[in-house]
Symmetry: C2
Subunit: 422 residues, 2 copies
Amino acid sequence: MGLVVQKYGGSSVADAEGIKRVAKRIVEAKKNGHQVVVVVSAMGDTTDELIDLAEQVSPMPAGREFDMLLTAGERISMALLAMAIKNLGHEAQSFTGSQAGVITDSVHNKARIIDVTPGRIRTALDEGNIAIVAGFQGVSQDKKDITTLGRGGSDTTAVALAAALDAEVCEIYTDVDGVFTADPRVVKKAKKIDWISFEDMLELAASGSKVLLHRCVEYARRYNIPIHVRSSFSGLQGTWVSNEPTGDKVEQAIISGVAHDTSEAKITVVGVPDKPGEAAAIFRAVADAEINIDMIVQNVSAASTGLTDISFTLPKAEGRKAIDALEKAKGDIGFDSLRYDDQIGKISLVGAGMKTNPGVTADFFRALSDAGVNIELISTSEIRISVVTRADDVNEAVRAVHSAFGLDSDSDEAVVYGGTGR
Amino acid sequence: MGLVVQKYGGSSVADAEGIKRVAKRIVEAKKNGHQVVVVVSAMGDTTDELIDLAEQVSPMPAGREFDMLLTAGERISMALLAMAIKNLGHEAQSFTGSQAGVITDSVHNKARIIDVTPGRIRTALDEGNIAIVAGFQGVSQDKKDITTLGRGGSDTTAVALAAALDAEVCEIYTDVDGVFTADPRVVKKAKKIDWISFEDMLELAASGSKVLLHRCVEYARRYNIPIHVRSSFSGLQGTWVSNEPTGDKVEQAIISGVAHDTSEAKITVVGVPDKPGEAAAIFRAVADAEINIDMIVQNVSAASTGLTDISFTLPKAEGRKAIDALEKAKGDIGFDSLRYDDQIGKISLVGAGMKTNPGVTADFFRALSDAGVNIELISTSEIRISVVTRADDVNEAVRAVHSAFGLDSDSDEAVVYGGTGR
């Protein structure tokens, strides 16, 4: 029995009852002989409430103070959780990110972990205690200021601690039963995945799956820490994410799942002179505005005009900024006009089996075509195909693809949501 | 223009509006050329809400985790206050007790400050920033754990920082206009005191006045830091507490004020053998139970029985514990019975002028007698007389004494409460 890191999200500790339920589960793991380190998020809506307060006193809250504010949320949940565990007769100590040795860079609101020095955690464990650690936060290496890792950062805290402590598994407790072959809200027959490789999980996370964040999976892959995503509302096995399949029954599927994303918009730069350096100028302007773009497509140039169109997708939230940046650079780049379209959606098919099954791409397009879905952009990786369609077509497209690749479960019963339905 | 420490209590920063109002006042002081260090409490009822949460998960929350929990409150208010100041165009940085160098012992929930090493505060000030510090909290010297100083601890934080930074004044902002000659809720004609000595303020605080805590005044006296208690809702001068009178108009009054306290109970140990060591045995039993007692009176022994009664007062909250401790020691001590009475009140007259005006004591008892108030216990110091009466008589007694010593103001208008009435 080795060391286990467990991470509980805000919906699992939304109120006193939730905290007591989670405490019982933690004590269970301890009784089973594990050394237990718990990473906890802020209770329920605490973070949103704090953000709301900040906006009331200042329209643009500053980075350092904003981090100081938000980290109060985990401080509350971790202290309460430690108390609840003690109340069950077991010893527990809570630690802030700083006390736990989570060292980050100085980029407030979205700091990156650069080192983990969990000396105090190790001592607490050696003394037989359960260690509770605040997720989402750290301390900056140079200034010793409190930092936060950005939304979803608690998962990263958990994986980073698991790596630093050489844990045998990092359990991510959430309000769903695991990672599914598609979003169960869209595809009723979506199945829980028993095992998925780091690579496929990375592609799913990059393509719109919300269960695990890309950064967290990346960290786990780098340090080879198996992740077990499971429900805090049931005792069921969830989804294992690791290098090698675990358990007897598990074998690698050709296709892991279908992800979709309707949070992106498309910008088309119309009438770009078809000569070297034009695309570079466009994407330099966008990159200088610190906007991450996703897919890019350049149309074939019309021979008669010598002009072409370039389209790319980006988060809707950054649409305004991108348009402004391009308008400002219009004189230098030399294009006719910009078109902005936020009524798009992206559907992605992910699976390592694609590499060795050349028919997958054809089947994918066939399924979309049969469902009457029009494709606007295409992009691929070795283990993923993504297409952009009209936003209205996304749900239908996801269901069609899911069914075409034999991912549908036999019964609707397979999809079980947790208690809060959040 | 020197360095000023300002402390704002929870009612001054109860909501976003309060925080913005306080931010303006802080910026004002900065504009006037001061270096400004601000100590802030948790917003409004935050601490009570956190205590409530703790009680929901554990009937007896443990010290270390309880401190971790409660300190989240100041973290929220100080970050918001720093944001609000920045929004007014001034630089501000917030610091936890630990970051501010507030070093304490390890007694959780009521730690004592043993050192203040405000290096980061000094740096922030030197860089032209306003420093915002979390009140009520510190970090333990040996274990580096978060500690709290107990209720009212933010005032102590402010005075301790003022001492460590050699501030010219420690301003305590509250929701009343200053220290009054009596509780204005009881005595409508109570007057605001312009200046009061540390000694008289210590006696008032020990006798039931709630505006400043005894520990905070003691600290200020030891390091000779003038305290200015004033309202955060007005620009009026409040009460100066210092060694020497300040300002032209201020001269030392014979009597500073009348304090009262109805939070105590009286225990009478009946039928104690009148022989050496009996009283010692009684108070050893009480002290071993960690109960602080206030007044003690031993009746004259009845010659016929050789037995006497011993009465003492103590906080009501500790009554049960004291009775239990005495019952347990009954065999060793040898008394007949115990009487418990929580319907008592204490009235105290405080003033350094007592030392040189021998008529004060007589006038005090005359005033009580004229008001028909019966006296049960008496205790005195060089600058204070206290009596215990029936609880029902307390308000009447306070008014009578206040009037008899010429403390009544000419009009009711002098008593001004702040906006929230809290």
